[in-house]
């Protein structure tokens, strides 16, 4: 395993991905967690601060010293959250956290962004490089916060050359514990599909993402990286792999149907997400591979099937 800084702070540690990352890291480094939620099944050597990252007491933990790296996972992305509060939490929270990092000589900041910030579009090249403009919010307002945070981290990278800032943009994270839009979609018994459309999708297993974060913590790694999983698969083949029978809707109807279901709380699938099952939003992950030697451990099949073992 790669050398990891001697102590790592993880925001959003009580989330499914946060807990998994903590379990992977705590054996080899001191892990300090921040989350508003309590941390269930906490390993004994993980220190947890049940705090909103906007609170002044967060800085006090850093004042005591010793934290060498931050992994920032603590962003809210539930489409049913209050948008104004989520925006403040995500954007102001990130700025406060990064300011603390600069003041207390934290050498490394890793932000978990997403490959979905580029946004699906019919004219997209098959593999989007990191330089692609972040247009994901054009039709899905839910990505505005994430894009703003991603852009803020990019400017932070320029303002603080002394800090190794890493922005990771992984493809759709799926796995037994994550509860994001792509995993929830793959878990539907009868998912909606767009009639006649079958884009290539990319997935990455939650454990592979945690291993990618661990790689990003390695000294010397800095920059913006797409993180790809084991490969590309047609959406229809992915759904067939999971034994799903889709409800195909014509493209001119699907959005209004999904919106009505969402508004009536009959489904948790936000209407803007339809673009992701209609058009391409796949990325080129070769830069991360070249700079860190990244290889995912899970095959496409195992990654897809992992959503079936939901815990």
């Amino acid at each position: 395993m790669s050398p990891v800084p001697a102590s790592v702070a993880i925001t959003g540690i009580a989330g499914n991905l946060g807990r998994k990352l903590a379990r992977i890291l705590h054996g080899e480094t001191r892990v300090v967690g921040f989350d508003r939620r309590p941390l269930r099944d906490r390993p004994k050597d993980v220190e947890h601060h049940q705090l909103d990252i906007r609170k002044a007491r967060v800085e006090d933990v850093f004042r005591r010293g010793g934290i060498q790296a931050i992994v920032h996972l603590g962003l809210k992305h539930d489409p049913r959250d209050d948008a104004a509060e989520a925006h403040d939490f995500n954007v102001a929270g990130t700025q406060k956290l990064f300011d603390i990092a600069a003041r207390h000589r934290v050498g490394k900041v890793v932000l978990l962004s997403s490959a979905n910030v580029y946004g699906p579009a019919p004219g997209n090249p098959n593999f989007l490089p990191e330089e692609t403009p972040l247009l994901g919010a054009a039709r899905l307002p839910g990505y505005r916060d994430l894009i703003e945070v991603d852009m803020y981290a990019q400017s932070f990278m320029w303002q603080h050359p002394e800090i190794e800032t890493v922005i990771l943009r992984p493809v759709n994270i799926v796995g037994p514990t994550v509860r994001n839009a792509p995993s929830n979609y793959l878990r539907l018994e009868r998912p909606i599909s767009v009639l006649g459309f079958d884009p290539m999708i990319q997935v990455i297993h939650e454990e592979d993402v945690c291993r990618a974060i661990a790689l990003a913590l390695r000294p010397g790694v800095r920059g913006v990286y797409n993180v790809t999983g084991p490969g590309e698969v047609p959406l229809s083949a992915a759904l067939r792999e999971l034994g799903r029978e889709t409800i195909p809707l014509p493209h001119f109807l699907v959005r209004s149907v999904v919106k009505r279901l969402f508004d009536a709380r009959l489904s948790s699938y936000p209407p803007g997400e339809v673009d992701y099952i209609q058009y391409l939003c796949a990325v080129d992950g070769s830069r991360f591979v070249r700079d860190t030697g990244w290889t995912p451990r899970y095959s496409i099949r195992d990654t897809l099937r992992s959503v079936l073992n939901a815990r």
Partner: protein, 284 residues
């Protein structure tokens, strides 16, 4: 691909082999694009599916358009190449016929990838069919990536200007875009000109209803003699010319590029003129 049963696919594949003539199976087995556990390459090209989908195209190739291909040896057997031709006929059967020629009349066969307009991915079924058959949206990033992987690309630099032009302009080449030349220079790739004779008469358009095209977000909305853009059984003749090599900077000014593009355009025009002189009749 979902929606087409295994049995139908198998039947179509048998039809492909039959239409392809003796030795087709052995030749098609030489096609070995990269494929993952789901049978596709990273772009979604599924060679098995393509061999099934090729059957109706081959029927058109052999029985309907009765295509004659000349100079196929000019298409390199391997390595990157840009095949550049004239575009016409309202619906892109010319692309399908050039690809079919490289698939069944060339040994070893080449799975040529046509570059499609970026409105194609907005079309249901067509978008999926094209992607599984190896067609790619012609963004510069896609082209660069495919050329560096040694693929042969089919480009129609006239785009929909040529495809949907009225019958009165048949065999008059429209303005060529410059993008293909920048790609050829940047990647040091040979250009193989091709003159497609026949397609220009397959669906004579008399009108282009622009307001309707705008309404449907189509590039054009042609009205042909028959009302529909379906092709008549013209005879196709494909004339592949000798590979052309260009040197220079890919980021030169448009004027410099235009001069080079004009040479390719002239080559295509020359192949067309030769093809037209050789042919005795539109339909046979």
């Amino acid at each position: 691909m979902a929606g087409i049963g295994e049995e139908i696919q198998e039947r179509l594949r048998r039809w492909t082999l039959e239409l392809g003539g003796p030795g087709t199976r052995e030749r098609l087995e030489k096609l070995t694009p990269p494929r993952n556990e789901y049978g596709v390459d990273p772009y979604g090209f599924d060679v098995d599916f393509m061999q099934a989908a090729a059957a109706p195209v081959l029927w058109l190739y052999r029985k309907y358009f009765r295509v004659k291909a000349f100079g196929l040896e000019n298409v390199p057997a391997e390595g990157p190449a840009l095949i550049v031709g004239n575009h016409s006929g309202q619906l892109p059967f010319d692309a399908a016929m050039v690809e079919a020629a490289c698939l069944v009349d060339k040994d070893p066969p080449r799975a040529v990838r046509a570059l499609v307009d970026k409105w194609v991915p907005t079309l249901p079924f067509v978008s999926t069919l094209f992607a599984r058959c190896g067609q790619i949206v012609g963004t510069p990033e896609n082209c660069r990536r495919l050329l560096s992987a040694g693929e042969a690309l089919l480009v129609f630099p006239e785009g929909t200007r040529g495809l949907n032009k009225p019958f009165s302009q048949r065999y008059q080449l429209q303005t060529f875009g410059l993008g293909f030349m920048r790609l050829a220079l940047e990647n040091d790739v040979p250009i193989i000109p091709v003159g497609v004779v026949g397609a220009e008469e397959q669906a004579p358009a008399i009108l282009d209803i622009q307001p309707l095209a705008r309404l449907l977000a189509f590039p054009h909305f042609p009205i042909t003699l028959t009302g529909l853009p379906l092709p008549m059984p013209v005879r196709y003749r494909l004339w592949f010319g000798e590979p052309m090599r260009f040197t220079g900077r890919s980021d030169d000014e448009d004027a410099v590029l235009e001069a080079k593009v004009a040479r390719v355009r002239d080559a295509v025009a020359g192949l067309l003129a030769h093809g037209l002189a050789e042919r005795e009749h539109v339909f046979w």
